[in-house]
């Protein structure tokens, strides 16, 4: 099974509110999700799944690393195994996720979830097929556009570019629909719209 189609668990919920949550994780570097990764968390005793986007990844202070940082030298042959080990070591990180909607028995809903995920709930990266379904309608951007506490425009532009590739053969139509949606939502913010469209097109 390739990476896109297997369920990757990234960690447990550390703190949460209705708008998003933070995941504490100790996973090796290749497994760390990237900016804009879609993740899901069980809510309402597993009856629904909160859908969110990773918008921040912070490496936590690790006393072990702090200790090593002052003694280990990257170009010292005597430290090669230790540096290699630290690069593969499961590092403590915090992953911040912003909610964009949730899925219940009726399908995907783009709005605030009825409940945040509970503490220590396991968070999983969404599979490619799920991402394609979630992003099929441009409404997935609605909550992000209203959110001033996360780098929403960067997140939107980045996600549109990635999700467009999932809609093979309809890429242009997909981008056009996204652009039209943004134009309607940001009718009172023409400068913001322009910047966002430029980012979508790969500029700036």
């Amino acid at each position: 099974m390739n990476r896109e189609n297997r369920a990757i668990r990234i960690g447990n919920v550390l703190r949460a509110d209705i708008r998003g949550f933070v995941v504490a994780s100790r996973i090796p570097e290749p497994e760390v999700p990237t900016f804009g990764t879609f993740v899901r968390a069980p809510i309402q005793q597993g009856q629904s799944q909160l859908i969110g986007l990773v918008y921040n990844i912070s490496l936590q202070d690790d006393p072990f690393l702090r200790h090593l940082a002052v003694t280990v030298e990257e170009d010292n042959p005597a430290h090669q195994e230790i540096i290699a080990d630290q690069r593969e070591r499961a590092i403590p990180i915090e992953i911040s996720v912003v909610a964009i909607g949730y899925r219940d028995s009726h399908g995907y809903r783009y709005g605030l979830p009825p409940q945040p995920p509970m503490i220590l709930k396991n968070i999983t990266v969404c599979r490619t097929e799920e991402v394609k379904e979630i992003t099929a309608r441009p409404e997935w951007m609605r909550l992000l556009l209203e959110n001033r506490e996360v780098p929403a425009d960067e997140l939107i532009a980045h996600t549109i570019q990635r999700s467009a590739k999932l809609h093979a053969g309809e890429e242009q139509a997909y981008l056009l629909a996204a652009g039209r949606y943004l134009a309607r939502q940001l009718v009172r913010e023409p400068l913001r719209l322009e910047t966002l469209l430029q980012r979508m097109a790969g500029g700036e």
Partner: protein
């Protein structure tokens, strides 16, 4: 809640006692270093212990006849390429009668570190114990001290397993096998479980390590005890006499670690000693008598003394010991006096509070799904609430 103001007098008394102890230790160190310099040869020292030793005391007996007590070994080279070090450590979740579910867990973590420029391999193993026969002793009481003994055995068995694995993967000799703590069985050896199950299993793990041509080493940082100081006391001119001369101290504060911190330069190792304790005699009968040596893995202004324990059959390979010293010095240098490989083994073995909470959640979910309702005691719930304050 701690009322620090109420402890003011005791804190002052503690400070004064510490200052007095330090002054006394300085005098004792000076005397002990003189006795060390003037000590007779190994056969004479062993004879001295035999004739004048107090049966209730522990003595460090030098094991090699032709090596003086003052001999120090220095290793300046880096470990040879491809040298392999296996390290293990363990941790546990103790059985808690106030918890929702009664169980205990042992977890051992291990690392195989090979000097070849590549990342070491890491592994761990957890076992869950919940049967009444595992949780209660013969008197029907929840086990306490036995858990540490079982963990010690689990650690050495895992060390033997990983050593065999490294050997099968082509690790060269010497193949160093490190554990954090003493190798000499650190318990009384008097309980039925120890004699019937644990000690035989412990000695079997030693034999497995020997079979793999591994060198088991117990790394004891900040060692307690004073078997060498006790030996030196016997060499005093006034030893055995009722009163000591005023000019000579009778060390009752000084430990071997403090003496070695003044005797060994950074990177230096002492000679090998053995203890003639009943437990080491048991080890000897099993073919795994334990020898020990002191090593300074610190720096000029910050000596860090560790006691190394290894079976006699391994300590007698001078080439193995030479590489052991090189490896420990290299490993300790990056972590200011603690071998990197042991620190990582500890990290891999550690069961955090978060791990424990996740395990408890999972167990409770499984039980609830099966229709079994459990809950923590009222006392535990109250403590958890207060602990969050």
């Amino acid at each position: 809640m701690l009322q620090l103001a109420e402890l003011k007098d005791e804190i002052t008394a503690l400070k004064q006692a510490a200052v007095a102890r330090q002054r006394r230790r300085e005098v004792e160190t000076e005397d002990a270093l003189k006795w060390l310099a003037d000590a007779p040869d190994a056969p004479t020292l062993r004879q001295l212990v035999k004739q004048q030793g107090d049966p209730g005391e522990q003595y460090a007996l030098p094991v090699m006849d032709d090596v003086p007590l003052t001999q120090r070994f220095q290793e300046l080279e880096q470990p040879p390429r491809e040298t392999t070090v296996v390290a293990v450590d363990g941790s546990q979740i103790r059985p808690d009668r106030h918890a929702a579910i009664l169980y205990y867990l042992l977890q051992v973590g291990g690392m195989i570190f090979r000097y070849n420029g590549r990342a070491p391999s890491t592994q761990s193993k957890s076992t869950l114990h919940f049967k009444p026969s595992e949780l209660y002793d013969k008197e029907g009481l929840l086990i306490t001290g036995q858990l540490g003994q079982r963990r010690t055995v689990a650690e050495l068995e895992y060390l033997a397993q990983l050593t065999a694995q490294a050997r099968a993967a082509g690790a060269p000799t010497p193949l160093l096998a490190l554990t954090d703590g003493p190798l000499l069985w650190p318990y009384s050896g008097r309980s039925e479980e120890e004699n019937r199950q644990l000690l035989p299993a412990y000695f079997t793990a030693f034999s497995d390590l020997q079979q793999s041509d591994g060198m088991p080493v117990g790394f004891v940082e900040r060692p307690g005890g004073r078997p060498l100081v006790n030996l030196l006391r016997l060499t005093r001119p006034s030893a055995g006499k009722a009163a000591n001369s005023a000019a000579e101290s009778s060390p009752d504060q000084l430990t071997d670690r403090e003496l070695m911190a003044h005797f060994l330069q950074p990177g230096e190792r002492s000679i090998w000693f053995k203890r003639d304790s009943p437990m080491n005699q048991q080890h000897t009968r099993a073919g795994h008598a334990i020898w020990f040596s002191y090593l300074n893995i610190g720096t000029e202004h910050w000596p860090v003394i560790a006691r190394l324990e290894t079976p006699a059959w391994a300590a007698q390979h001078a080439a193995w010991v030479k590489i052991l010293q090189q490896v420990l010095l290299h490993q300790a240098r990056v972590l200011h006096g603690h071998p990197y490989v042991l620190a990582r083994a500890h990290e891999l073995a550690l069961v955090t509070h978060q791990d424990q909470a996740a395990l408890n959640n999972l167990l409770q979910q499984q039980l609830v799904a099966a229709g079994v309702v459990t809950h923590v005691s009222v006392k535990a719930a109250q403590k958890a609430y207060l602990g969050r304050k």
